[in-house]
Symmetry: D3
Subunit: 337 residues, 6 copies
Amino acid sequence: MSKTAAFGEVMMRLEVPGYGTLSQDNQLKYSFSGSGVNVMSALARYGHESYLVTTLPDNPLGEAALSYLRKLDIRTSLVHRGGKYVGMYFLEHGFGARPSRVTYTDRLGSSFNTAAYDDSLFGKAAQQVELMHFCGITLAMNDNVRGAMKRLAREVKRSGGQVVFDCNYRPSLWGDGDYDQARPHYEEMLELADIVLMNERDALLTLGMESSVQGRMAQLQDLVPRVAKQYRIQTIAGTHRQINGDNTHSLTGYVYGNDAFYFARERTFSVYDRVGAGDAFASGIIHGVLQETPLPQAVEFAAAAAMLAHTVSGDTPIASSNEVLKAMTDHIGDVER
Amino acid sequence: MSKTAAFGEVMMRLEVPGYGTLSQDNQLKYSFSGSGVNVMSALARYGHESYLVTTLPDNPLGEAALSYLRKLDIRTSLVHRGGKYVGMYFLEHGFGARPSRVTYTDRLGSSFNTAAYDDSLFGKAAQQVELMHFCGITLAMNDNVRGAMKRLAREVKRSGGQVVFDCNYRPSLWGDGDYDQARPHYEEMLELADIVLMNERDALLTLGMESSVQGRMAQLQDLVPRVAKQYRIQTIAGTHRQINGDNTHSLTGYVYGNDAFYFARERTFSVYDRVGAGDAFASGIIHGVLQETPLPQAVEFAAAAAMLAHTVSGDTPIASSNEVLKAMTDHIGDVER
Amino acid sequence: MSKTAAFGEVMMRLEVPGYGTLSQDNQLKYSFSGSGVNVMSALARYGHESYLVTTLPDNPLGEAALSYLRKLDIRTSLVHRGGKYVGMYFLEHGFGARPSRVTYTDRLGSSFNTAAYDDSLFGKAAQQVELMHFCGITLAMNDNVRGAMKRLAREVKRSGGQVVFDCNYRPSLWGDGDYDQARPHYEEMLELADIVLMNERDALLTLGMESSVQGRMAQLQDLVPRVAKQYRIQTIAGTHRQINGDNTHSLTGYVYGNDAFYFARERTFSVYDRVGAGDAFASGIIHGVLQETPLPQAVEFAAAAAMLAHTVSGDTPIASSNEVLKAMTDHIGDVER
Amino acid sequence: MSKTAAFGEVMMRLEVPGYGTLSQDNQLKYSFSGSGVNVMSALARYGHESYLVTTLPDNPLGEAALSYLRKLDIRTSLVHRGGKYVGMYFLEHGFGARPSRVTYTDRLGSSFNTAAYDDSLFGKAAQQVELMHFCGITLAMNDNVRGAMKRLAREVKRSGGQVVFDCNYRPSLWGDGDYDQARPHYEEMLELADIVLMNERDALLTLGMESSVQGRMAQLQDLVPRVAKQYRIQTIAGTHRQINGDNTHSLTGYVYGNDAFYFARERTFSVYDRVGAGDAFASGIIHGVLQETPLPQAVEFAAAAAMLAHTVSGDTPIASSNEVLKAMTDHIGDVER
Amino acid sequence: MSKTAAFGEVMMRLEVPGYGTLSQDNQLKYSFSGSGVNVMSALARYGHESYLVTTLPDNPLGEAALSYLRKLDIRTSLVHRGGKYVGMYFLEHGFGARPSRVTYTDRLGSSFNTAAYDDSLFGKAAQQVELMHFCGITLAMNDNVRGAMKRLAREVKRSGGQVVFDCNYRPSLWGDGDYDQARPHYEEMLELADIVLMNERDALLTLGMESSVQGRMAQLQDLVPRVAKQYRIQTIAGTHRQINGDNTHSLTGYVYGNDAFYFARERTFSVYDRVGAGDAFASGIIHGVLQETPLPQAVEFAAAAAMLAHTVSGDTPIASSNEVLKAMTDHIGDVER
Amino acid sequence: MSKTAAFGEVMMRLEVPGYGTLSQDNQLKYSFSGSGVNVMSALARYGHESYLVTTLPDNPLGEAALSYLRKLDIRTSLVHRGGKYVGMYFLEHGFGARPSRVTYTDRLGSSFNTAAYDDSLFGKAAQQVELMHFCGITLAMNDNVRGAMKRLAREVKRSGGQVVFDCNYRPSLWGDGDYDQARPHYEEMLELADIVLMNERDALLTLGMESSVQGRMAQLQDLVPRVAKQYRIQTIAGTHRQINGDNTHSLTGYVYGNDAFYFARERTFSVYDRVGAGDAFASGIIHGVLQETPLPQAVEFAAAAAMLAHTVSGDTPIASSNEVLKAMTDHIGDVER
């Protein structure tokens, strides 16, 4: 097994239980997540030693976040304490035809986004791990953390580690979809990345590429190889999702490597909590790469892991690799006694 | 935007959480609703100034009801305080093949049903609003409140306002379906009404009309124009519902006006809480009439509002008009961030 | 051990959890209680076979009440099913200087208060048990149930059983303290009773007696023997309570029998839920009489039972006789492992 | 109506609420169930007098279990108190593609499994009832309880009662599927049984029979008549279940008697809580036999009862016979008011 | 009754239920409060028309806050919608010797603190009310809101209204107690104020005054008259609190007016939720001034209101004036039925 | 800071929320604790690296326990996975005069008590830490774990580490107080121990020593020095507790070392959750010894830590050393903002 890390913010998730709204209810459940948290937790379940590089305040909220990370089996020796705030988001679960809603607090002032990152710590982190995960959400924050992210990615490359970059473009974080502002930062990260999570929309919109073909699938197959070539990326993977009216989603995963595409078969399944499922897919791909699993199996594993992540409460995948392997078959099990 | 009101009882809803029964559980969630409450709350969300004409006791339960109305943005200046009790019902949620169950407490002794209604208050209420909503459930209570209801409806007409009447015939409230007893009261209200919510069953059973055609849809198209003509009603609207085995319902809305029928396309959707969805449809129609929306759009709006009302917890619709407009399309959105 | 019964209403208790109010919260805990329920449950814990003579509706609320009675080990073979409603009350817990509040629903329309009581059932009930408990709250309801209560009490006497009568005068149930209206009914029950729960206030106010002495304790010692003599009552018992500012109460119990008074030592203790503690005291006295415990021990047992009843959640005493015996000492135990 | 009993363990069910896991949550809901408990509770709902023959410890957990049995309307006069522990299991609800998980505590040391069973009590129990239910899970425990089970079954036969045996083979309880060890015990019970719950898997695996035909249904029709003949069993019944990806199951029930098979039509329905549904089916069959319902109706009743048991929270069926009769039609009801 | 308003931030209170910490639990209860909210809600309970001048974002959190204000009977017509965030704080309840802890989120970026305040709205607000409440916490935020606060206070004076200023100095909001930075702002507000809430510490520390006497009470009596004189303040009031080891506090209230001190008798009482009790005291004083209650009664009323505020859940006082009047006596009531 | 470990069982604590009983409620909160867990968690809060040497099953309960340990900042690299069960106990909170009750499940079959302990693991553990904590509860289990405990203690001594032994004699675990059976095992552990937690009762009863003096305190001062001398123990410490009627306890701590006694002043305080407070005291003493704090301060620190442990929910102390230092003063703080 490998040593892995993620650089990313720990967010407090505050969730209205059941299907009520913030105006209707007076209770919340909370947990701590974030793209890096989710990926590290999944990799820890698969047996890898997993670290988070982040900053948390030295107050009861930071304490609670830290306890939560440990509970998820994420190593906290690379967590810096400082600053004053934890980023937060409120989640109101939708139902059927009514979409879920996420409302953020002011995360720009969070410990993670305001920390003065210490390059010697980065050096230490880079030497300690074989692979470091980064996410496009961090890129959307501010110059401080963007700069730190790139320095750390370069440090990882320098130490011979692999860089994972999940494009994860969120229009609302870039002035409602200012792709031009985002593009150079994305390009810089793609230059550094060995494994990238994306699909044709990232190529068309964020990278501003053009495609002469029609249809999502055709565009994917046109654009992804061009991205891989241009940025010399070994492995690119991602998903297509369709949301159905009866609380089910349909998901197809792909991976592109060694000049070839491999697709997981489309899965349609009941959805309990959709948030964080993309991170589960990414974790499955990363695990495959680390284990040198052939890509056709790796993408099926990742797709099954993503499917399971839709069936659990919370952002963070909790399936073991055995559970994912079972879920790769079509058979749905009865109560396990 | 308009000034609107409803005359109706505030009911306390006491609901077993999840899918347990009163014998199984020991906890309840409570809220306050009622046909008038639901319609006024929906219209307030759409931007109208909304009042409730009702009576509530001067005790902690009345206090709680009043707080709840204010929370729903319903104006309480026309709420009279007096009497001793709040009407209540207990709701046990069904699941799939197991139907939900509603058990009432003794609502005939409630403040609303025993109040000595003051006609000067009625005059004031009638002058204050452009439209007043009434419901057939109130008609089923007792002579006191039936009388008050009719006097208030006449007062509204006299002041130039519009009268909405939702037939809402509940067999259990009329000695297990004594249509003859109900008929004259319904006829009296239909004479006064400008907008009526009903379907072919109300015409056949409550009004005792006959139809020579077969099938629900044909009978609807036969009977509704005759009702409209006979009682000189401008707008009649209603729904057909089918309950499927997999926690979904199928719903078709119609509106009849200007001698023509307009149908919303049938929608099939997952159902979370079915109670109150009829009031959401009524609110959509009323909003359409107040806004002078063309009927084809109005009925689609009303049907989408009804669909959304099935996806929220509680009797009372909570969607804004923007949210209803979004739900009119077929596309089901991902998490809104 | 003996066979005992109580004639009384089953009330649904709907309680705001913790220390919130109905306006603040949106959740309730519910249980079923009533003076007769509480006494029968306590006697069942002490080893007696305990029945309730009451009426419950044939609907989900009646079903839930019945389940709850069985859970309390109360035999339900003398429960009649009929009528439509269950009496209810809402409880908002006070804290320290803020008193608790109880709000009733319309209990006059309850199954218990509207039932046509069948004297042949009463005969059967009277023959089945050695002792029947009645309560002054029932006396305050209406002529129907008052009449039934007296007929049943006479039937018990005729069958050679003992009648227990707990005065339990509640001013709010008698037109805010109309003692003249209540008096004849109380006198009739006292004529029939073998064991009576009361104190000097009942004598002064409800019975309209006069005392030339001052102070609660002196008046008690003046009046109770006169009541015992006038109505030929074997055993009279009751308590004096004082409410302190720090969530503690002080309680003194007494019993009068064989021309002598016996007092339990005053106990001061932290109070968790005060409702139903009087029924625990009554149960202790009844248990003592049934077991022919000497009165000095009986009153200490009853007082300890009452104290413990203040420390449990809900109206209904749950201590076993062993637990009460332990609580009669001054020692307060550590965690029992 | 009849007098019935079951011999079996009372298990404490500790359930993570909603769809969380034991690692994620910090709360549990608990109840008490067991195959015998479920069947007796269902038969009590159908109007039969129902007893449980079991052993429970004399401590707060035994007390809680006893209260719960009474609540379910199960008579407890044949419950022995002794030993020290209650068997327990933890349930984590699956969702969609993620299966539910059950984790047991050490039930071999439970009061039920360690009790020294008194044959005079067994004689009394056997004389008191017309039918006694046994379950293959008990057979898997230890020699002590296996011996008691067989002695009691023989005692029931001797008193002229009927013996019901539900095969209920659980591989994990027999050293991960040691059929040879289980076989003689199963054979012994089948010799004693009048009504047996099983399907072709029990015949093939547990009994080690062979079939020359292919397919579950064909094998069932081949094997069940041979079992009935060999062990002189009057009625054999069982189900085939299929688990679908969208939180629905498909279920077909059969009954074999008088040399003929009768099948209930296949039902597909949304599933809320699958545990205990087999006991609901068994209860329906037993009720049919006791009521001498023709087998075609009996198996439809049992299948509808099983379907409803999937829609309720907890292991224990709660539907009345009226509710089951309603569910036998295809129509799914709207809210019952 | 009067028209009153407060200028202040609406804070979301996120509270760990019971006595757990953020690291231990995974649930929160939420409500909305703030010094202005608390005072306006209390005055609404006393019968005054109460407005809040504030800014809330146009998102689900702002919506929830607005609903909550309406529920508290606070008029929202002067609430501006804009900005992006709601200020928040997390509360972990202490117990006995363990103090409660409050942790803030980044409130400087809240809608209230970043709004561009419109002076024409201020003019409208000032004309609409007779009295406006301001709080020292607002003064600690930033120049934007400090400026707005002072302009609004001046506008109120210009329109002939009264200005209330509650010093409410919080060291942690001023760089851990930088009194020099705070002083000029406090002095400016005191110049404008008619009613001031403070005690000797504000004079000594915030205003930097000196006193030659020893002891809190003596210093209070030395300093408050000097403050009143210097800033021409009509009414100054405040409290001394002592925290005892057994979950009780002792509180003494004072008011200074017409050149004289009036003290409420010291009260010692059990404390459930201490937050917001100071606002209850302020509301009692303001109510007294508006009603022209003689100061000795006014300060007793305010002290009883403060005591009651310690016994309720949440920051916001909920007692009616009748409940406060009852609590002014020494008698502690039994359950109110 | 030091490296420390404990050898002990992880127990699942299942607690009825609030003050209900297992018969009354249907919900539980769960956590994981144990004497070793509590001490290690406290020492981790004080800054020491803390390990647990224990065995947990490889199933969802073992997974949940492991997550919980990590959350408490206990290192799990010395946790062995094996066996089948987790020991459990149910806690019903008492109130005032009603004591709390603990009911155990069958812990003898737990993974911890049935594990085949590997001496090479013990050697590794002993070398890794400076101090190992053992508890008399483990001694009461069975020969397997008793043997392992002694072997590990000897291994620690051999490696130069310190052995802590907490006598923690529980009569119910030794056949209701069979001191003769326990004595040789206690003597063996005392021979090995450097730090012992006990008081005069352990000397009199468990060790069977005799004292000619009267009174707990005099006996303590007579017996403890004799124990220290006989077994060559450097530090002995313990507490005297008194339980008061108003939910407060009084506690006095002592430590004996260097031939002298040091007593912490008696503290009386409100108690929220008494379980685990002894472990908090032990942790304070251990921390003092590790830090070489003078004994008078160490015992005050330990007593304050014990007091704080009574104010938190759960068995496990959560105070940081700063919080304990603050609690050593008499001042009780207001809300910390």
